[in-house]
């Protein structure tokens, strides 16, 4: 059990800045998921915490001790790699025991720890096998086992499930969550998969091109995205964005087709005519006679729900998610209930909350 504090962590490779000042504080036993598109610097951040790369500047404080300049082995951190990185010539047992042997643990202790981890992960019958004799899911478990036996202060996961097929991924996702809760080890988990992020994290950090954009609980990130990037990234299908301007002394939005809709949650600061982006999730779009024309281009049945993709009269592409099989019509009437609006600044993309009186 340990706390992790990261302060103003920056990393540049030569002239290229990859991380632009990340701040984080993890409570003991917390699982924080870092989510972002591929190439946004997630792995870089994890490698800095692990000690595999040196930060350009900033502090990494693990359990009250600044570890930023320490060797990886001196940090008491274990990492699960995306491609598992198992030692190909060692048995499952040796893969898990190797780090303990180097740390000079007594043989009986090593055996006890490896066997405990193997029992938790269901690896008992596989201990003598070599990695190449294992399935993807089993390798994944061995990689987890190697981290568990170390009994570290901090777990790092770098997209550990991305090489697994969909069914296995869902299963391992739940297993990782259960395991992490049970062991209570503070964890940083990196993924580009928003479902993984939503389901695994106590909190999420959304990273966008090396800049932390939002740090909050999954439901808060989903319910009150900090900007249009987060709004579009979290949630599937992605949120619809409609251009609008502020109207009626900040109490309403005027859309491109001239319609004006009052905000359900109050007045926004700013001059009328200020550019806005109104976000609305596909599941919140309603069918309403007398609404806007919606020309359906594509129907994606997902079983319990259906996604309709098409165009408004203005030519704007939007998607609509409905329960069940969905309507079969090619043209529908849709409306956007103001209660489901997410209001963003049209230029900066930042969320604009109602002013409190």
């Amino acid at each position: 059990m340990a706390t992790l504090v990261i302060e103003n962590l920056r990393k540049s490779f030569g002239p290229v800045a990859v991380l632009h000042g990340v701040d984080l504080a993890l409570a003991s036993g917390e699982m924080l998921v870092i989510v972002g598109a591929s190439g946004c610097g997630k792995s870089t951040l994890l490698r800095l915490v692990a000690g595999l790369d040196a930060p350009t500047s900033g502090r990494i404080v693990l359990d009250g001790r600044d570890v930023a300049r320490l060797d990886p082995s001196a940090r008491d951190i274990a990492m699960v790699f995306q491609n598992y990185a198992l030692y190909p010539h060692m048995s499952v047992f040796d893969n898990m025991a190797y780090g303990l042997r180097i740390r000079g643990l007594a043989k009986p202790d090593i055996e006890r720890r490896v066997h405990e981890a193997a029992d938790i992960l269901g690896l008992r019958p596989l201990l003598t096998r070599k990695p190449r004799q294992l399935s993807g899911g089993q390798r994944q478990r061995v990689a987890m086992g190697r981290a568990i036996v170390r009994e570290p202060k901090l777990f790092l996961f770098d997209e550990p499930l991305s090489n697994l097929d969909a069914t296995l991924r869902v299963q391992m996702r739940a297993e990782i969550r259960r395991l992490q809760r049970r062991m209570g080890v503070t964890s940083l988990y990196v993924t580009h998969d928003q479902v993984e992020a939503m389901t695994l994290g106590d909190r999420l950090l959304v990273l966008h091109q090396g800049v932390p954009v939002q740090l909050a609980t999954p439901m808060e990130v989903f319910g009150r995205p900090a900007n249009t990037y987060v709004a579009g990234f979290i949630g599937a299908p992605a949120m619809n964005f409609l251009p609008a301007t502020l109207a009626s002394q900040g109490t309403a939005a005027r859309f491109a087709d001239g319609t004006i809709q009052r905000f359900a949650d109050g007045r926004r600061a700013g001059a009328d005519g200020h550019k806005l982006t109104i976000g609305i999730r596909p599941e919140h779009v309603e069918f309403e006679p007398g609404g806007q024309n919606f020309q359906v281009d594509l129907v994606e049945p997902l079983g319990s729900e259906t996604v309709l993709i098409g165009r408004l009269a203005s030519g704007q592409l939007i998607s609509v998610k409905v329960a069940g099989a969905g309507p079969r019509d090619e043209t529908l009437m849709v409306s956007f209930p103001a209660s489901a609006f997410h209001v963003f600044d049209g230029t900066t993309g930042l969320r604009i909350d109602p002013v409190v009186n």
Partner: protein, 276 residues
């Protein structure tokens, strides 16, 4: 696949095998024949099994002009092993350094090693001899082996092998707390075992077949290698006993064959157990 489609391939293979086996068979048969008959050019394809004793004779007593063959084979084996192990040890370390460590002039060091590829033993033989002479290593076992140990080829091969090792494996070992030596010993060498075995075979045969350098640096008969010995047996003054020459040649073939056969099993195992 149908048997029909296979026959051209099999024919070519059979011809190839024949091409390699006929000289060896001639050697085997010739070693058991009467030396006078061979000198007359009457080389029979049928071995005379009564004369197999010639092998014992050359092994223990040798032939005119040279000592017993077992001794020369021992010198050859010593030289080949020293060269193979020496080359492997040096090239693993140098490849390890240029692949996994960042130090000033790293690429310069790498290119200097690379350039020496263009300078085989024959080209640098005079300066090498003079260095060995200054070090008083002429007619010694170290003098016979050390100059042949430095190897750019093996260094390059190991570098390629090491470059193919995923970064994450290196990083996993670092997280596990493995220092540079441990990583080399516990991960890198076992993971490269297949390449190591293959290289050992090549280098052993290379060392075993050395001729020019031993000829120059070791004039002392106690340092005669089997290759030198065979040449010496073909005397100019005395009548050459060709059956003994052939027997020695057959014996000289055995250690390389043994190494190939033994190591082949090992490196096929290494190849199939690797996880790439």
């Amino acid at each position: 696949m149908s048997g029909r489609a296979d026959w051209p391939a099999h024919t070519v293979l059979a011809l190839g095998v024949l091409l390699f086996l006929v000289p060896v068979w001639l050697l085997l048969a010739g070693s058991t024949l009467d030396p006078a008959a061979i000198s007359r050019g009457e080389l029979s394809m049928v071995p005379d099994l009564r004369n197999l004793g010639v092998y014992g004779t050359v092994l223990t007593e040798g032939a005119p002009g040279v000592g017993p063959v077992w001794r020369m084979m021992l010198v050859s084996a010593g030289m080949a092993l020293a060269i193979a192990f020496g080359k492997i040890a040096i090239s693993i370390l140098s490849a390890y350094a240029v692949t996994f460590f960042r130090f000033p002039l790293r690429m310069v060091a790498f290119w200097i090693i690379f350039i020496t590829l263009m300078l085989p033993v024959e080209v640098r033989i005079i300066p090498t001899y003079s260095v060995m002479s200054d070090l008083h290593l002429i007619n010694t076992f170290p003098g016979l082996t050390i100059p042949l140990i430095a190897s750019a080829t093996a260094t390059l091969l190991f570098r390629q092998t090491f470059l193919a090792i995923p970064d994450e494996l290196v990083e996993a070992a670092r997280m596990d707390g493995a220092g540079p030596w441990r990583f080399l010993k516990d991960i890198l060498i076992p993971v490269s075992a297949a390449n190591l075995a293959a290289l050992f075979v090549i280098l052993f045969v290379y060392g075993w077949n050395q001729y020019l350098w031993p000829l120059l640096v070791a004039t002392d008969p106690s340092l005669d290698t089997i290759v030198i010995g065979i040449v010496k047996m073909i005397g100019t003054e005395t009548q050459t006993e060709w059956n003994k020459v052939m027997a020695a040649a057959v014996l000289a073939l055995l250690p390389p064959i043994l190494v190939v056969v033994l190591m082949q099993r090992w490196f096929v195992k290494g190849l199939t157990e690797g996880d790439k």
